[in-house]
């Protein structure tokens, strides 16, 4: 009895030790991989080089935050937004470096210093190997051992699969994010132009087109990919609804930009006029005068915008995206309702159209009857 208990306690202890070792191994592997990444991104091979871009990012982010805090006094929203965009740009530059590294890895090398990268890869591989070996190195019962095969084989297989998966997912990762990273410059330029009022409709156009293009090349493809299996139809409808929502969201952002620019212009005009009045030592007779002035400026500015081709285009885009989202959503909801005892709109429409046709026929027959009756 005691022997059995000792054996059980021993196994329990093995498992606990294994868990602890596995955690240590994982931590070590992560540390080694991070160090290697820092060396590669830094270029010179010195650990900590990765901190350069990180510091730059934090700096511009902090500046942007400072600008935001000062906004109500200084009215520097345009600059603040630029700084935010600059911070985001720096962040994505870091991301771009990382992606480039992955790209190179996928292509067979780690940039120019092949010796260094080979060593780093080797280290990385060893670390992962150790981690897996530790994680699976427990005193398993004999039947399980037999099932797993000769010692070490299982770990080797696991490692090979893991490496393959990592490489595969890195490739997918690149494909998925690189279009966004590449698009970001265009997005930043467009957004900065719109915010600063210097880009005009071209900046808006650039922003929207870049966003749409990046979306279509990445997430859009995923959501519109054909599916297989018994729930294909339902899943496709769900994914189309998500896709339509994201397009709806994008169209709304675009529309908001279009309205934002003239809003800023009008506000600047009002501030300027109010400033001129105060400089001349003239104050409004009542606040109603200033209000009327503001209203007039807003009305004129926005009326011009409402008539513009750019606005009409944006309006149609947002309307189209809204309708598409509504359509996809309705279709999905109808699929979900199919298994419930609730009649759907499409089913009711089938009834309504029949009813409409019947009513028409009855009325025509009534007319003919009256004619025949004289």
């Amino acid at each position: 009895m005691r022997e059995v208990r000792n054996e059980a306690e021993g196994k329990q202890s093995d498992v606990m030790n294994m868990w602890s070792d596995a955690q240590h191994a994982w931590t070590d592997a992560f540390k080694q991989m991070t160090t290697m990444t820092q060396q590669i991104l830094g270029g010179a091979g010195e650990p900590g080089e990765f901190g350069g871009p990180f510091d730059a990012w934090m700096k511009s982010y902090r500046q942007a935050l400072d600008g935001l805090v000062k906004f109500p006094v200084g009215g520097s929203l345009g600059n603040t937004m630029e700084m935010f965009l600059s911070a985001a740009n720096t962040f994505l530059n870091m991301h771009r470096s990382w992606l480039q590294t992955l790209k190179d890895t996928h292509g067979g090398g780690f940039g120019s210093d092949k010796m260094m990268t080979t060593e780093a890869l080797k280290g990385w591989s060893e670390a992962v190997k150790t981690m897996f070996a530790t994680m699976t190195n427990i005193s398993l019962p004999e039947p399980v051992r037999a099932m797993l095969g000769p010692a070490g084989e299982f770990q080797q297989t696991m490692l090979r699969n893991f490496t393959k998966n990592i490489q595969g997912s890195m490739g997918g990762y690149q494909q998925f994010f690189i279009p966004w990273v590449e698009a970001f410059e265009g997005l930043t330029k467009g957004a900065t132009g719109v915010m600063g009022g210097s880009g005009g409709p071209q900046a808006l156009q650039q922003f929207q087109d870049t966003w749409t293009s990046a979306y279509h090349d990445t997430i859009g493809k995923f959501f519109n990919a054909p599916l297989v299996g018994p729930s294909r139809l339902t899943m496709e409808k769900a994914m189309r609804a998500v896709d339509a929502y994201l397009k709806f969201y994008g169209a709304n952002i675009d529309f908001a930009f279009r309205v934002y620019e003239p809003g800023v212009q009008a506000f600047e005009q009002i501030s300027k006029k109010a400033g001129e009045l105060f400089k001349q030592d003239v104050t409004p007779d009542t606040f109603r005068d200033l209000y009327n002035l503001a209203l007039q400026i807003y009305e004129e500015t926005f009326h011009q915008m409402f008539k513009s081709e750019s606005f009409v285009r944006g309006l149609h885009l947002v309307l189209d995206a809204t309708l598409e989202f509504r359509r996809c959503n309705d279709e999905f909801v109808e699929v979900m309702l199919r298994e419930t005892p609730v009649v759907t709109q499409s089913e009711m429409d089938e009834v309504y159209v029949e009813l409409h046709q019947l009513k028409r026929t009855v009325r025509q027959l009534e007319v003919e009857l009256r004619k025949k009756q004289g």
Binding site: F287, E299, F302, K307, L323, Y352, G374
Partner: protein, 387 residues
């Protein structure tokens, strides 16, 4: 308006004064809004004399001796309710027309539901409207009616007259869009490239709220902001509050638009402008405005932002009538019905124009008698044949 005041202190003093006034007004406003407030609309006495599906015809009880034998049938737009013409008792176009001895009928289109999404322009014009005209003719014994079309209802009346002129004595169009190809109206610009097929396919009926958002966007600062500031400025005036609430009630009482009908209206008129080109077909019949030869009165508003003058004016040139006249009033799309100036100018002018073209009552009565006798003799002869 703007005077030299001097110092910042002056601004502060003014601000304080304004704030105090606002507070007092607000307090009084709360008392008014929570007290007994007259906000009823469409109060001129009337009877429902015909119903079909969701449609109703109201007959307004005469307030004076009938002076014009030809009844007037008001065809209002589908997008809002007809009681705009009878919004407040002291500024009711309906009341003013009744005071001139006009026999007044009005169509209430009702509120289309999802069930009505397949109703198209043919159903409205060759169906409902034609049956309404027949009903009024039958009820009054008059061969013809005067059609008074308002806004979209005016466009329907033009089409109806071109196709069924034998039943129409006069055509009166008020703020009616006819030529849709104009840059003066934002609705015309926005609707031009709108994917109306998709909209109807997805939404079924186009909701009144959606339409209202479009109307508010025509002048958002005035309609969504300034209007309510004005309200706050006059919130201590019970009459102003009553009329404001009535107007709000009307503005946001917007029936949904039957899908097929609005699809056709936007596509054929706003996008292809077929009516003014004489290319519009209804049930296979060409609607040629040149074929309209009855007297036409076209009334439009100078500052109309929904139906700009450029959309209404071309009507008189397009119709074949020799007796045609136009009245342009210095108001907006709604002001034409409720502004005191319009009330003073428009209703008497309209009444005079109608009385000159409706014939004396006695003659018409004789004519009606003759018609009845004719019908009797017709039916008699048919009975004879049968026998």
């Amino acid at each position: 308006m703007i005077e030299a005041r001097g110092s910042f202190d002056e601004v502060v003093r003014l601000f304080t004064e304004e704030s105090e006034k606002l507070q007092q007004r607000f307090q009084r406003g709360v008392e008014i809004l929570t007290g007994p407030l007259e906000v009823e609309v469409g109060q001129t006495p009337h009877d429902t004399v015909y119903t079909e599906d969701k449609l109703k015809i109201y007959h307004y009880r005469p307030v004076t001796e009938k002076r014009h034998p030809v009844p007037v049938l008001v065809t209002y737009a589908l997008v809002n309710k007809q009681y705009m013409m009878d919004l407040q008792p002291d500024r009711s176009m309906v009341k003013k027309l009744l005071e001139q001895g006009i026999d007044l009928y009005m169509i209430d289109w009702g509120y289309p539901s999802r069930m009505d999404k397949f109703i198209n322009m043919s159903d409205y014009i060759n169906g409902y409207m034609d049956r309404c005209v027949d009903f009024v003719r039958q009820r009054t014994g008059s061969d013809k009616v005067t059609l008074l079309g308002v806004c979209q209802g005016g466009t329907f009346s033009i089409i109806y007259t071109a196709l069924h002129q034998e039943k129409v004595q006069n055509l009166v169009c008020v703020v009616t869009p006819f030529d849709f190809d104009t840059e003066d109206g934002l609705l015309n610009i926005w609707a031009r490239d709108m994917d109306i097929d998709k909209m109807v396919e997805v939404l079924g009926n186009v909701s009144g709220d959606f339409m209202n958002i479009g109307y508010l966007m025509l002048n958002p600062f005035r309609l969504m902001f300034a209007k309510y500031i004005d309200f706050m400025e006059h919130v201590d005036n019970p009459d102003f509050v009553s009329n404001f609430v009535r107007m709000e009630k009307w503005i946001f009482d917007s029936p949904d638009q039957a899908g097929e009908a609005i699809r056709e209206f936007v596509k054929y008129f706003y996008q292809q402008n077929l009516l003014v080109k004489g290319q519009f077909k209804l049930d296979g019949q060409l609607v040629d405005p040149k074929k309209i030869t009855v007297p036409v009165l076209n009334i439009y508003a100078q500052y109309d932002h929904l139906v700009p003058p450029a959309a209404s004016e071309p009507l008189l040139k397009a119709v074949g009538s020799k007796d045609k006249e136009e009245i342009c009033l210095p108001s907006g799309h709604i002001g034409i019905f409720v502004s005191s100036k319009s009330q003073r100018l428009l209703c008497p002018s309209m009444g005079k124009w109608l009385s000159e073209r409706s014939g004396p009552l006695a003659n018409n009565n004789d004519k009606n008698k003759n018609n009845k006798n004719k019908n009797k003799s017709k039916s008699k002869s048919k009975n004879k044949n049968k026998n």
